[in-house]
Amino acid sequence: MKKDVIMTKEFFWPGSVQLKIPGNVSGVSGGIIYPMGVAYHSLMRRDLNKKYPHLNRRLLDPQLYLVKLDPYTCRKKCAQLATYPWFPQKPFTSFNSGEHNQREWQRELKNKIHELWIGQLPKKADEIEKTVKSCIEVQENLDCENYILPSPLTIDQATDYSTELQWLDIGLKVSKQTNNEKPALATIAISDSALRLIEPWENELIDLIIDQVSSREPDGAYIVLEQSNEQGYYCTHHNTVGCLLRLVHGLKTAGLKRIVVAYTGTTGFLSLLAGADTWASGWYKSERRLKLTDIEDTEGRAFPAYYSHSFASEFNVEHDLDHAYKKGLLSTIQEITPASALLLSALKSGKKASMVAEWEYRPANVTAAKEHFVSAAINHTAEIANMSKDELFTYGLKWLENAKYLAEIISKLDNRHPRTEINHQSSWYKAFKNFVEKAK
């Protein structure tokens, strides 16, 4: 019996770094499990419902779009992915808790991953089917609410998309053969290299994907954006953002019931305004932006930053937030959440942000910043949950026009820290305005 797909606006927590939600903030609708973030044997023995309440509703992204990771430079991630049965690799001894120490076993795998990692997806139909089956079986065993059908990464703008469609056709066939026949989401994993150079409504690849995917009538789509050309926390190029909006809108218009957007940070929230149902974003850069070439780079020391939805960005809390307060912007930029209550009250009483211990500008002091971001994501997702299409468009235009205006003011702050990003707001506004004009 096929279950109904969910149709609403939701925020999911991405488990690419850790499955646990920062501070156990309540109100997260569900979670996405990423093989990159947790080893297979470790995942399978966890009581997900008990340990992570938000994972009562869960998805698992097979992440086959990561198959071309370089095992020499991405040892840790490749070793993690290699624990899943669908990643092509040479045989190695599986983890056995009776025989192995997990840490040592993982280290050994990491040390020899360059010898084991094949880095190529199968090409023959029967081999693809075998791979897809294992992806779906694991999702079924984990009782995920939808099946995310695997797909390779699309990089070339001139592709005929036939490889991705072959995977999709086989995925749909296999998902229909399962006993539960849950809704199936077609993965659309696409690099911004295929999106940046062409105006979104002129980009024939977007037309091709919308047409070919929707004609196969999956229940929904799971969109992952590889931002190979982006450096910061926010997707900046207006064509990339515009293509994402078009893709979401086109698939939804064509009749797909659920669109999930992952790995795009707050741009995922923007995609809700174009018709997406679910977005997922964490706080760390690696939870917001997928970039194959630096996937294993550590961000160095993470420092706290204050997310302001009206600014569509974050403030560095060492100086920039104080400067914004002095400019009289606090009432405009403030984001009221439990994790930021002390910070806001300190600022209002004339104290510096760094004087609040939870927000003190020092490495790894990011718990409050993460909790704050998640709360803001939940609040603003709920804010738009029941809006009509026209209301969503109006909301988006107002939100981004204001964010653009704030970015212009904040760009003039003395010694602005690069973490206070001010370039994407005007780009998002341009992309969204253009989108609304064409999509109305």
Partner: protein, 312 residues
Amino acid sequence: MFRLSRQISRPIIDAGNNYFGAELYEYFRKEVVLLGDMIVAFDPPLICEEVKASLGNLFDEIALLPCGGQGAVFRCTHRPSNQTVALKIYFTNQIQQRTQREIDLMKRIDNDALVRLVESGEIFIRNANCIFIATKFVQGNVLSNIIKQGKMGFPAVAKCGYDIAKAIQLLWAERIVHRDINPKNIMLTDKNSAVLIDLGVARHIDLDTLTAPGFSWGTIGYLSPEQARAVKQLSYKSDIFSLGITLQECLAGYHPVNHRQDLLVNGGQVRTNTLQDKLPKPMADIIDAMLRYRTYERPQFNDIFKILGSYI
């Protein structure tokens, strides 16, 4: 391949200037090669004796039918199955082996809305390797001839649209896009059912070329915008567009834009409710939706069946 096809098709496209409109004519002349032009007719036409000499082991009681489109067509009896078939012979040796997969798929499709492929293969005739396709013989009238007699009533149009949409759905289930839905390829049977009689097999003159930039297949006046742009991958939504034009033609009794493909590409479609009085609004709306520029704004099969089915 490119040079050859341009040499053959250029005069044909040039001759069609009147139908294109200046802008699209220029586009086609420079950018798009319609592969149908690569198939040339037998000159002089094949005669029954020649077919009998080459295919007498498979077919009997061979009689010439009025030639349609690109090939010679004969009515005959298929010996192994003892059924009457329409035998079409294409004067080309360029159909590739890879089409065999699709031919095999078509042999499996068994539905009243789609003519059944009975036999296919290669024969050597007039010193050339030629392709033959034998399909079940359908008794009835070609839709283009019926339209010449005037407007069709909307229930008959709804039935025709429903049946051909079913044929398109069957093909798409095998990921086949027909690419040439038009009134000349649809037969109305004595039982008032519509049958897609051309399986479109001939379009598989080298699929590599078909999916190469600048090449397309189809009939001017019925091409979807994406087909006219010769995009590499088409979906069933392209056939749905062509069906929409065909249904408008049935309702009007003439081609809605006089075969002006440029108008169809540039959003100059005619509103369906202007073509016939007392046409039910949902039916007019669904046909309009079939003609939308963006593929994803065209209706899915279920929507088409639901609405057209309610007027049958």
